[in-house]
Amino acid sequence: MGRRAAKPLSREWAKGFGAVLLVLFLSVPAFADPGPARRSELTELVAQDCGSCHGLTRAGGLGAPLTAAALADLSEEAVAYTILEGRPGTPMPPWKSMLSEPEAVWIARLLKEGHAGAR
């Protein structure tokens, strides 16, 4: 994370203090969060690959809806666990060979906040 964040940070610094604050705000609270490049990959993965079953708008398909409302009763940890381990007996696969735990938590948080994987 530290290495990945370094470049954008210094670039943003040159651009302006506000941007730096924004980057700090995004990266500091969860230290293990994926870096910006990976975040963009993950956003794309949620939109397109999760979207194959759960819909591009995440309103559901063969898979359950993943809207903020649909996930309201589930904790971030529970959502992340489902992403990593899958749901045995259903087509939901375990993504742990493709995603790290912090990445799954990051996706879970954005799903629950309702703005992950915008088109």
């Binding site: 794309e44 979207g51 079953c53 591009l56 708008t57 398909g61 063969l62 259903t90 087509p91 993504w95």
Partner: protein, 387 residues
């Protein structure tokens, strides 16, 4: 005199404007994130038009009218859109459910049926007017509504489809469209996820996600019921994760043998279609999604789920070996052969392009820009049962 020249010019101009263009070499490409359809032609490999306003097209599929002029597009958001390929515009559109997965067109071309997830069932529309003709709620023996998958057309103006949660196959006879006759086959197995009808219209096969094997219905003798074949087909004990549901649509038939993606194994399976037993296992580099046969049945083209979705493998059917591994672009979602198979079109979603290969030299002959392309559908499908 001047008037007659004017008349002649006018006539000439209107003749030009009305210059006829046939549709046998046309097709459409889904630009799924933008709700847009490209109209393309595969004689010169060009884009002809772009049609906007089709809604959520994730997992969109398309069938064609029997005159090959209109495409019926099934959107994920429940939209059914009729697109005029010649005029490059929407000719009709209905929001017919909250969430749908695909559809089929009847043998006589008069009815288009849509498989719905929410609310689970099938709705049937008049292809001319898009008026609702029949509404078939998919309430299984469990008393609950199921998502409908694997909706296919069958001879005799019938539609066959599967109930995902309930584990049933239904056969709907729409010879009298207002009064569909439904035959229900309960207990066919757990979680049917997709299905196909063989090109001769005889067999309906549903893949099961919840257990091994395939549910088989002989449409020539439906009274004999559904039986389970290929018990070895399925997840097996040491199944690998399946990051994208395989499709059965590409069901590749070569002689008396058919080929389809294994589930949870990096293999293409061959099946003896008379005995319904396994005839081959061809190792490939990942979880296959589409196994598509070149129309002559000599080659299979296979694309893959993550993390191998940038690759395509070509299998030589007689020798059952992979003869090429191609890297056409990022996230290869779909492939479609030209009607006689000299070319194949691939959609590379994350490279924002379509790639056209010569199937004999295996070389790229054209690339066309497209925004996040997914499904590619050529009009020749109009005349094949089950497509």
């Amino acid at each position: 005199m001047r008037a007659s020249i004017l008349l002649a010019v006018t006539l000439l101009l209107s003749a030009c404007a009305a210059a006829p263009r046939a549709t046998g070499d046309l097709g459409v490409v889904v630009e799924r994130a933008d709700g847009r359809l490209l109209v393309v032609e595969h004689s010169g490999n060009t884009r002809l038009a772009s049609v906007e306003g089709l809604g959520d097209l994730s997992h969109a599929s398309v069938v064609f009218s029997r005159d090959e002029r209109f495409a019926f597009v099934f959107g994920r958001d429940g939209g059914l859109t009729k697109v005029d390929l010649l005029e490059g515009r929407i000719a009709g559109r209905v929001m017919q459910s909250g969430n749908s997965i695909g559809g089929a067109i009847s043998q006589d071309g008069r009815l288009v049926a849509v498989a719905n997830y929410t609310p689970g069932g099938v709705k049937v529309f008049d292809t001319a007017t898009l008026e609702l003709v029949a509404d078939i709620p998919a309430i299984g023996a469990d008393g609950k509504r199921s998502k409908v998958v694997g909706l296919e057309d069958a001879p005799g103006n019938r539609f066959a489809f599967s109930l995902y949660e309930a584990g049933e196959i239904w056969l709907a006879d729409l010879k009298q469209p207002q009064a569909p006759k439904i035959t229900r086959f309960p207990g066919i197995g757990k979680l049917p996820y997709d299905a196909l009808v063989t090109p001769d219209g005889r067999f309906y096969l549903a893949g099961l996600f919840g257990e091994d094997g395939i549910a088989l219905l002989d449409l020539w003798a439906p009274e004999k019921g559904v039986r389970r074949v290929l018990d070895a087909y399925g997840k097996g004990e040491q199944a690998l994760p399946v990051f994208k549901m395989p499709h059965l649509e590409g069901w590749a038939q070569a002689g008396n043998e058919a080929f389809l993606p294994a589930i949870g194994r990096h293999e293409v399976l061959g099946i003896d279609m008379g005995r319904w037993t396994e005839s081959a296992r061809i190792p490939v580099l990942g979880q296959p999604v589409f196994v598509m046969a070149r129309p002559d049945g000599r080659q299979l083209w296979v694309n893959f789920a993550l993390p191998h979705n940038d690759k395509v493998q070509v299998i030589d059917v007689p020798s059952r070996t992979v003869i090429a591994t191609l890297l056409p672009g990022k996230a290869i979602l779909h492939l479609e052969f030209t009607p006689r198979g000299e070319r194949v079109w691939l959609s590379a979603r994350d490279s924002d392009k379509l790639v056209v290969y010569d199937t004999e030299t295996l070389e790229v002959v054209a690339e066309l820009p497209a925004v996040k392309p997914s499904g590619i559908f050529f009009t020749a499908r109009a005349h094949t049962t089950g497509l």
